[in-house]
Chain length 261, copies 2
Amino acid sequence: MTDQSGNIFGDGPVVLQVGGPLYLQLKRWVEDAIKRGLIKPGDALPSERDLALRADVSRVTVRKAVQHLVQEGVLVQRHGSGTFVAPETQRVEQSLSQLTSFSEDMARRGMAVRARWLERGLYLPSPEETIILGLGSGERVARISRLRLTGDVPLAIERASLSSSVLPEPLTIADSLYKHLEKSGNRPVRAIQRIRAANIPEDDAHLLEVPVGSAVLHIERISYLATGRVIEFTRSTYRGDTYDFVAELRLGDPSNGARTP
Amino acid sequence: MTDQSGNIFGDGPVVLQVGGPLYLQLKRWVEDAIKRGLIKPGDALPSERDLALRADVSRVTVRKAVQHLVQEGVLVQRHGSGTFVAPETQRVEQSLSQLTSFSEDMARRGMAVRARWLERGLYLPSPEETIILGLGSGERVARISRLRLTGDVPLAIERASLSSSVLPEPLTIADSLYKHLEKSGNRPVRAIQRIRAANIPEDDAHLLEVPVGSAVLHIERISYLATGRVIEFTRSTYRGDTYDFVAELRLGDPSNGARTP
DNA sequence: GAGTGGTCTAGACCACGCA
DNA sequence: GCGTGGTCTAGACCACTCG
């Protein structure tokens, strides 16, 4: 009697509301189905060809609607497998006033985290690195790039640059960069962080396993020793769908206006 | 001999490098042209039909390449007018440790800002508003929604909710909400802010004049009086391409924001 | 009105996953 | 091997901008 074979929508025709371009009508229709619980996170959508047939539109139009929803993180597509309603993801919070390292931060809240090395070693510095880190001429820069994961879910890409005088042997870092720096008395006490939103480019999208163009937080951090010396320059990319930054604001003296000295 | 008529690429055929999907090849080709200065911010691209002809691909394929670049903020399209290389935008910075209002913040750095009212008045509260603002039963909520602009460029959408006991007459607000609250002794002294990246949905995209799916910063702010009472609950959406948030981090006790250099 | 981007179609082939 | 999504085409009409 009923069609149980993975077809959550039944097999009747798809009836669109009127108004606007077809792909937006279809998009609304899918959003509706999800909102009403006809189809839940993890469930498969009918195939593009099936939807096209039943909504009486071309497959290109179906793809345009689906593509928008993938873009917004509502759906995920797996080549050769199907289109699915995105699972709900738990968001991670990070303080914006306390200076911590990623691994310490996660350990504190009892999350299992791993890191995959992307790059590690001594390099010729870029002009930008030379200026920001205040490198002497001929001095090398230590670069550490990591992919941060909880379980199998990538969370962030972190690319740090430090003076080679501070980190002469990048390969000896075991887990936490800040712990390592602490041993040599070089742990930063202060940092300026610049945060903005961006659409992720292709290469990073693959690393973080999100669709190209997804929103991410781009964070640039410059860390200082108590002496005022710049010790670390880090560019990180955090997945927008799993990361929250939390800040506490107070009225009054801007303290520093957050300006580099 | 040379074609000066707005055709920056000349009129020869477009030669693509090999490898991968055509639309990505074409995308790379356009990026290259911009990188090499053949075409500068503000310049028009050849029309989609022209590009298709010269690259020997279909217009659909051209559109897919262009669409990706629009998504990444490299190009902008104007219906009926053409496709252009995006102008470089100046980024705005905002402190993440000092509690200020948008209008005060902008006035301080001498930027001309305007606001357009989107919504203003007393409403029946949503369950969320009731809980967060601690509304009594039957109490109304004051909602203030504004579109923030500098000149003609939209910067942010701000949707604030306050208890009607604090703001009984939302229509009387002239410019700055915080100034208004100060008059009645209700200016917040502390706030918790939650920041994350998201792809902008359709409706907000029109307001901010950015393509659907662009990266934006989503900020949720809960503000407190000195008494500890919640006074304001605001959801804002900031354009990712024009807004930077700056935070200063310090090692040690997180409960005290930032003090003593 | 000429030219631009925006939407849409019907049909084709390829690359991937899974049983 | 079959069904899925991924890419691509040639051609059509609409909606908008601008001279």
